[in-house]
């Protein structure tokens, strides 16, 4: 059941990313082009996703546990570290260069396989590099 729930969530997530235009780098870079020919579409994507999730968060306190797990596993909210900011800056620069973030990178494997694969493999290498630097193998 747990694996099925993840699969269903992944499929709906991938469909949402594609319909919303997140898998189209031109659309994403258009949104980031605030000082040029701005395309507000992604603000609608973000807004709708936030509304649905805000409702979901309100359901959580009334549940003793998630449907298929023993406990909620929710990270802390307030810990602000230099890594958080530095990581966000590097991610943002990468996002701006190619107009792809992790979810759309995987989803785009079904749309433009070669380009998406180049991005996804490079992203995994980037993740591995950080892990090496942090001393975990």
């Amino acid at each position: 059941m747990k694996t099925l729930a993840s699969l269903v969530a992944g499929i709906i997530f991938g469909a949402g990313l594609t319909i919303g235009g997140m898998t189209d780098p031109a659309r994403v870079r258009g949104f980031l082009d605030l000082f040029g020919d701005w395309d507000p579409t992604l603000a609608f994507v973000m807004g709708a996703a936030l509304i649905v999730m805000a409702i979901a968060w309100r359901v959580v306190p009334g549940m003793a546990r998630p449907l298929f797990d023993d406990d909620f596993h929710i990270p802390g909210k307030s810990e602000l570290t230099p890594s958080l900011i530095g990581g966000a800056v590097l991610f943002g620069v990468g996002w701006g260069i190619a107009g792809l973030c992790p979810g759309p990178g995987f989803a785009a494997l079904a749309i433009e396989p070669l380009s998406a694969a180049i991005f996804v493999v490079s992203m995994l290498v980037g993740m591995a590099l950080l892990r090496l630097m942090e001393g975990k193998s």
Binding site: A9, I11, G47, A49, I51
Partner: protein, 149 residues
Amino acid sequence: MMLPGFPDAAPLDGLIGGALIGVAAAIMLLTLGRIAGVSGIAAKAFGLGGSGLNRMGAWAFVIGLPLGALAVLLARGGLEPSFAGPIPLVIAGLLVGFGTRLGSGCTSGHGVCGISRLSGRSIVATITFMAAGIATVAVMNALGLEVLS
């Protein structure tokens, strides 16, 4: 549906897509008690640390992403996205992979799941990566760097 002043915008597709992303994240939260953060889940699937989700679940989610995209592709009878060339894709991929792990999340984990519960660190992270993305596109445009084909 057209948005006055923005002929290229697709607000209705944006709302539908965003709502689906929200539903997917809600499924992860309410059935498994987990944050639907794609960078953390992907790291977990490929054995690079990341989410506390089990490995099978992480793989299932990651495989679901292109399946969902494929369904939309088939339903719409084709999409016409434009992607960057190999060199910018490699540079961007390295930065996105390294940065999302260092910053503990990306557009989904911080941007959607974090902000919707008013997590201070997610709000700061999202403002930061959006500002960095906006600055990057502005600088590239000023330099005349065209990356999309």
